[in-house]
Symmetry: C2
Subunit: 355 residues, 2 copies
């Protein structure tokens, strides 16, 4: 039913180049971790959960290459560093690489390099599988927030392409429609500058036969003022312990608009997105990307040469504007801080499929 | 200093094709009113005040052609109808054509067709000249709202290209900088779908040596949350008697954001933009434009084929979110209704240059 964004092929990683969608479905298969680094940087692989899985497999590719190097562990250190340097905001990247690091860098690690590689591949597969189950749980829980007839606005892309499995915010909509038979209409923000909403969310919803209307980001307020939106759901790239949410640029604007119109604003994300090091949104680094993403579209310039540009890739929505967080452990309502602490401490893994 | 958006050449109209900016400065000179109709529809000529002036000259071109027809006045009726059908929201179009209509259609109009044409040309020139003076007064009054060091967000394009003369909202900024020596930094929303902010506002400000930073529409909230914006000023396409403002899609979102952050939100527009027939914003028709404006950029598709799209060209900002209206008669503060009534009744025309 869904495009497979990422697939481990034993010694190589096959991934869909999401920058080419929806015009072309181009798959890249590579044994070189540098291609994974480049793909994450260029958003060929994107979506916070998927970035985590891709980084884990990227480290595996690096490990295979490291077997041929003089110092396997120094090589892995370098690979880890390059993968961590791709994108600063989505914490799932660091979370996945931290899990991988436990396999290869803690004391008493095996000196049998081949064995370490096997363990790394096993761990990456575990992260991948867990991610799919996690997104299934998020989708299932999130679906309960919707009623028959809802008209839901979403921003950016949070479906199977972004997460593998069902997806997070979009996964909840897909589940509500396909598993629960609710009739839901989706309004998809196009999501400038890279049009993930127009290119990917619209594409996934069309493929899923869910009614979807594409709008420019600046039309969401108009739609709300006209009563066209009943709920908003988005994903997250990093969540602070107080419930502040970093997500794709424009999310904060949507949250303010929802607040102004009394429309519930939900965030769906795995607990791996919650960063115990970030007490509030102010602790979350915001990636600033290249000006060219704003000044050109598909190679066509839309601004005068030499113009100064701001291009923050994310913004922070304060927890006061968030009605609920949908996680794989259930729906969390404000105040978030104590509940997130408990959930983060809870032993993770081992969930079977539910619902 | 500024590009000339429109110029009457005696028997023809020369205009800048604004859809080609900033890449190319292409001027079109035509004797055919149908080219003016097409240019307004396609936004080659755009900006509420400029549309009014263009329609007046368009009617003159039609009148010249009408001299060759069997029924001059029926022909003018047809030309008037076609010009009125170009765009529904900007009221300056109807205001200008109403003024022209007084010249050609009231009782006891001369049966000397040539004389009527002369009078029409004179009236169009008067509208043009008055428009320039009006925009000068708006710019001058609006400039008083700014202080040295202000960082001003604007949406869409409201400078010389949109208005002739100084412009309205952007005119106030230009005046504050160039006539009053205030240091002002401008943040320009790109203004999807047609990028008037990126293509035109950024271009005009660069030409004027005013520091300008281009952002996507969905970044305005982030900028405000970070304290980067001290004031917002925009133009208007139609203002209801209660002060509700129809302006380029996305304006309402900016107004809600400004309100949420306690940032003053100003609207600058000529009194011809105030529609005595519209009691509130609900009485203002909102133009819905072609889906292709959203789904393609410069011919490049950015969404899957067959996607459903909403493309309202305008939205309505309720007067409760407007801190002041800048008009050619001065700055109007809320409550607006009584003051707008008085200003609309006041005898107009005959203003000399001020400030």
């Amino acid at each position: 039913m869904f495009l497979r964004a990422l697939e481990w092929k034993g010694r190589s990683l096959r991934f869909l180049d999401q920058t080419r969608l929806p015009r072309e479905e181009v798959y890249v298969e590579t044994e070189d971790y540098r291609d994974v680094v480049e793909a994450i940087k260029r958003l060929r692989i994107r979506g916070a959960p998927l970035i985590g899985v891709a980084a884990a497999y990227g480290l595996c590719l690096g490990a295979f290459e490291g077997l041929k190097s003089e110092d396997f562990f120094s090589f892995l250190e370098q690979v880890d560093h390059e993968l961590r340097s791709t994108r600063p905001t989505a914490v799932n990247l660091f979370w996945a690489l931290d899990r991988m690091r436990i396999v290869w860098s803690v004391r008493n690690v095996s000196e049998d390099w081949e064995e370490v590689v096997d363990r790394l591949v096993a761990e990456a597969k575990a992260i991948d599988a867990e991610n799919a189950l996690t997104s299934e749980r998020i989708a299932c829980f999130g679906a309960t927030l919707f009623e028959d007839g809802d008209r839901v606005l979403t921003h950016c892309n949070t479906g199977p392409l972004a997460c593998g499995g069902w997806g997070t915010a979009l996964g909840a909509i897909l589940w509500a429609v396909h598993k629960e038979g609710k009739r839901i209409t989706v309004y998809a923000d196009e999501t400038r500058p890279l049009f993930q909403g127009a290119r990917l969310t619209a594409f996934e919803l069309l493929k899923s036969n869910i009614p979807v209307t594409l709008v420019c980001d600046n039309m969401a307020g108009f739609l709300m003022s006209q009563g066209h939106i009943t709920k908003v759901i988005v994903g997250a790239d990093r969540i602070a312990m107080n419930g502040d949410v970093a997500n794709k640029i424009g999310t904060y604007t949507v949250a303010v608009l929802a607040h102004h119109h009394g429309i519930p604003f939900y965030v769906a994300a795995p607990l791996s997105t919650v960063d115990p090091e970030a007490q509030t949104g102010a602790d979350i680094p915001i990636e600033e990307r290249d000006a060219q993403e704003v000044t050109t579209v598909g190679g066509v310039p839309i601004a005068p040469p030499g113009i100064t540009v701001r291009n923050p890739a994310f913004d922070v929505t304060p927890s006061s504007l968030v009605h609920a967080l949908v996680t794989e452990e259930g729906i969390v309502y404000p105040p978030f801080e104590e509940k997130l602490k408990i959930l983060k401490k809870k032993r993770r893994g081992g969930h079977g499929s539910i619902c």
